[in-house]
């Protein structure tokens, strides 16, 4: 069992707070991502789980055992670093052997493990090369190999793909997931790339400013962001955000600022409509794929002007100017829109996400529990 428990872990560097009271449980065999912008504390949390840094407060459990005061080598973990951290003065073989030598394994065991791992990762051809002679992808494999040789229960990965070019990154991403399935180990994966976190993870935690913002499955976080930060951070193109006023008092109207359209809250808001305060300021979020463009006026549509079309081949991003907002719509690649064209904009049913303007918390957060 390699369940990981993080109990109220805090970390301060001098006067700066990197982590404030993080609580998290990661299940055995789970692929779990810590996602957030640089400086959000995700790497610090990983280093604390690893044992490279001591928490200022709180405990770490691995497999039910309190490991807070246990050195990294005795935690049954392995770590893959962003820059791979291959020892430049050792061959690939030397790099793979080092963790086993450090734990004083027998020569036969070392040889067997190295052979095994290098076969799995297809690096047996380059065992006698030095890291500088390898390509980025090959180094990445060696770094993985060095983590694998110790057969750890938990893999910690700190942005392991971010030094690769875009295409290789996507290839290694799939390989990583396949490898994980094969090993069945627990993986904690730190990244700032939402696409990596979404595609790889069983569950992920979005972090900001040293705090967990939301924890859950990728699709839950994407479609039910608990706050404005999570809503903005997930998605390959950003969520459209507008300021508005909830009419409240039983009304389902939401007036968008600056004489924008009046939107109507649909059935998904039934649970909270009664509790909405009158004239409460909110932020309104709509994913681009939920923005619908019409050539002719339809009921409840707002008028806008096309200002930019981005053709991606598989789809098209159309930027529409509506009052002071520019809304991005994800439409079919074949759709034909021209600049300065007048269009009519509606939002798909169930697509609106409302956030309290002051606290940035999702208004329907009460209905959807934050933790999954």
């Amino acid at each position: 069992m390699a369940e990981i428990g993080i109990d109220n872990v805090a970390k301060t560097f001098g006067s700066k707070t990197a982590l404030r009271g993080v609580n998290l449980t990661i299940a055995d065999g789970e692929f779990f991502s810590l996602l957030g912008p640089s400086g959000c504390g995700k790497s610090t949390l990983l280093n604390i789980i690893c044992g490279l840094e001591a928490p200022s407060g709180g405990r770490i459990f691995i497999g039910g055992k309190d490991v807070t005061d246990v050195p990294p080598k005795h935690r049954g973990i392995a770590m893959v670093f962003q820059d791979y951290a291959l020892y430049p003065h050792m061959t690939v073989r030397g790099n793979l052997e080092l963790p086993l030598k450090a734990s004083k394994e027998s020569r036969a065991h070392i040889d067997r493990k190295v052979r095994e791992v290098s076969t799995v990762l297809a690096i047996n051809e380059m065992l006698d090369s030095y890291p500088r002679q390898l390509s980025g992808g090959q180094r990445q494999r060696v770094a993985l190999g060095r983590a694998l040789v110790r057969s750890p229960k938990v893999f910690l990965m700190d942005e392991p793909l971010s030094n690769l070019d875009a295409r290789l990154r996507i290839q290694m991403r799939s390989e990583l997931r396949l490898l994980k399935e094969r090993l069945g180990a627990t993986v904690i994966y730190v990244t700032h790339d939402q696409a990596e976190a979404m595609t790889l993870s069983d569950r992920l935690a979005v972090m900001s400013a040293g705090e967990l913002q939301q924890v859950g499955t990728p699709i839950h976080l994407y479609s039910h962001p608990g706050n404005q930060f999570v809503a903005s951070f997930l998605g390959d193109i950003g969520i459209n955000m507008m300021d508005g006023i909830v009419e409240g008092g039983g009304s389902r109207g939401v007036r968008i600022d600056d004489a924008g359209p009046v939107l109507t809250l649909d059935a998904s808001f039934d649970g909270i409509v009664g509790r909405l305060k009158k004239d409460a300021p909110v932020r309104v979020g709509v994913r681009p794929e939920h923005v619908q463009l019409h050539r002719t006026s339809v009921p409840g549509a707002a008028e806008g002007t096309v200002v930019l079309c981005e053709q991606l081949g598989s789809e098209q991003h159309v930027h529409v100017r509506m009052g002071k907002y520019t809304v991005v719509a994800r439409v079919a690649a074949t759709a034909d829109f021209r600049l300065q064209q007048t269009v009519f904009v509606t939002f798909a049913a169930g697509a609106l996400r409302l956030f309290d303007k002051a606290t940035t918390v999702a208004l329907h957060a009460a209905a959807d529990t934050v933790a999954a």
């Binding site: 400086g39 610090t44 490279l52 001591a54 900001s208 400013a209 040293g210 706050n227 404005q228 940035t360």
Partner: protein, 312 residues
């Protein structure tokens, strides 16, 4: 949940000194003492040599003393002797004259050559190698070679002057002695500035210079507004190190001119050396050492300030 600016803690993730070796509370006293064990031998040796040596100089400067024998405590008398004595005042004046002439010669020559070398032509590598040779020549050899080259009775320079029709002056005599001393110093010292300034010049990205060229900025303006500001910290450092080098110079005047004619090239360090080892006035020599030390402290302070500013 409170979402603040995402950059607020940007610097935290990798602190300057990650506590890599003190990862947990299991870290024992041994781990905490390790850094001290690592630096202790170095610190002890420096204290034993530089620290104790400096302390000794201060102590002896307050005594009337000859080699190894402290006689009487005389307080600041040795320093009063330094101030009152016209010879010593002369030494100090000559020292400042020498520093004021030699340092700009060294740094100026080094700067000029660094600029000339900072282009990728054929042979620049060869020129650079050849031009560094004087710097690897010791002060003793520098002094001996120049003493011979400038020799008025059999040296080639006198002969050259004669050939071009100039009067054959005794280059190691009269006021020419100081000029010769400065020339020999510049010869020995310019390459140090040259190497550092060249390294600094090569840190200016080629694109910056190209951009200036494309924008039609004249070479002079480019130097004035791009190259020079970039070089300034390094110029400051080579000037300070060069000053220190000259301020502590014994070998060149000792061997090249013997401090003469008269005392015209007797720099304070040379006088100190003679007081200590020719006349055995250890107390007076120590007081002079304290004076030289004080000059060094001023330059050191300048150096540390400039290094600090460069880092900030």
């Amino acid at each position: 949940m409170n979402v603040v600016s995402t950059d607020a803690t940007a610097a935290v993730e990798y602190p300057l000194q990650p506590e890599g070796h003190r990862p947990g509370r299991w870290s024992s006293v041994r781990a905490a003492l390790l850094p001290y064990a690592f630096v202790a031998p170095a610190v002890l040796l420096v204290i034993a040599v530089t620290g104790y040596g400096t302390y000794y100089a201060f102590e002896y400067s307050l005594y009337e003393a000859t080699i190894a024998i402290k006689k009487n405590f005389v307080g600041l008398d040795n320093f009063r002797d330094i101030v009152d004595d016209t010879t010593t005042r002369g030494n100090i004046a000559v020292t400042f004259l020498y520093v004021a002439a030699a340092v700009p010669s060294m740094v100026g020559l080094g700067l000029g050559l660094a600029i000339l070398l900072n282009r990728n032509h054929r042979f620049t590598g060869l020129f650079r190698t050849l031009l560094i040779v004087p710097w690897i020549t010791s002060l003793v050899i520098t002094a001996l070679l120049w003493r011979f080259v400038l020799n008025g009775n059999l040296g080639p320079v006198s002969r050259l002057l004669e050939i071009v029709g100039l009067p054959n002056v005794q280059l190691l005599d009269h006021h020419w002695a100081m000029v010769s001393l400065v020339i020999a110093s510049a010869w020995n010292g310019y390459a140090f500035s040259m190497v550092l300034l060249l390294a600094s010049l090569q840190q200016i990205p080629e694109t910056v210079r190209r951009a200036a060229q494309v924008d039609g900025i004249s070479p002079w303006l480019t130097f004035r507004h791009i190259t020079f500001p970039h070089l300034k910290p390094t110029l400051l450092i080579v000037t300070i190190i060069g000053s220190m080098h000259c301020l502590n110079m014994i070998e060149l005047p000792l061997i090249l001119t013997g401090g003469g004619p008269g005392r015209r090239t007797e720099l304070l360090p040379l006088r100190l050396y003679r007081e200590a080892f020719d006349y055995y006035n250890t107390g007076l020599a120590s007081a002079m050492a304290v004076v030289v030390f004080a000059f060094n402290v001023v330059l050191t302070a300048l150096y540390i300030l400039s290094v600090r500013r460069e880092r900030a």
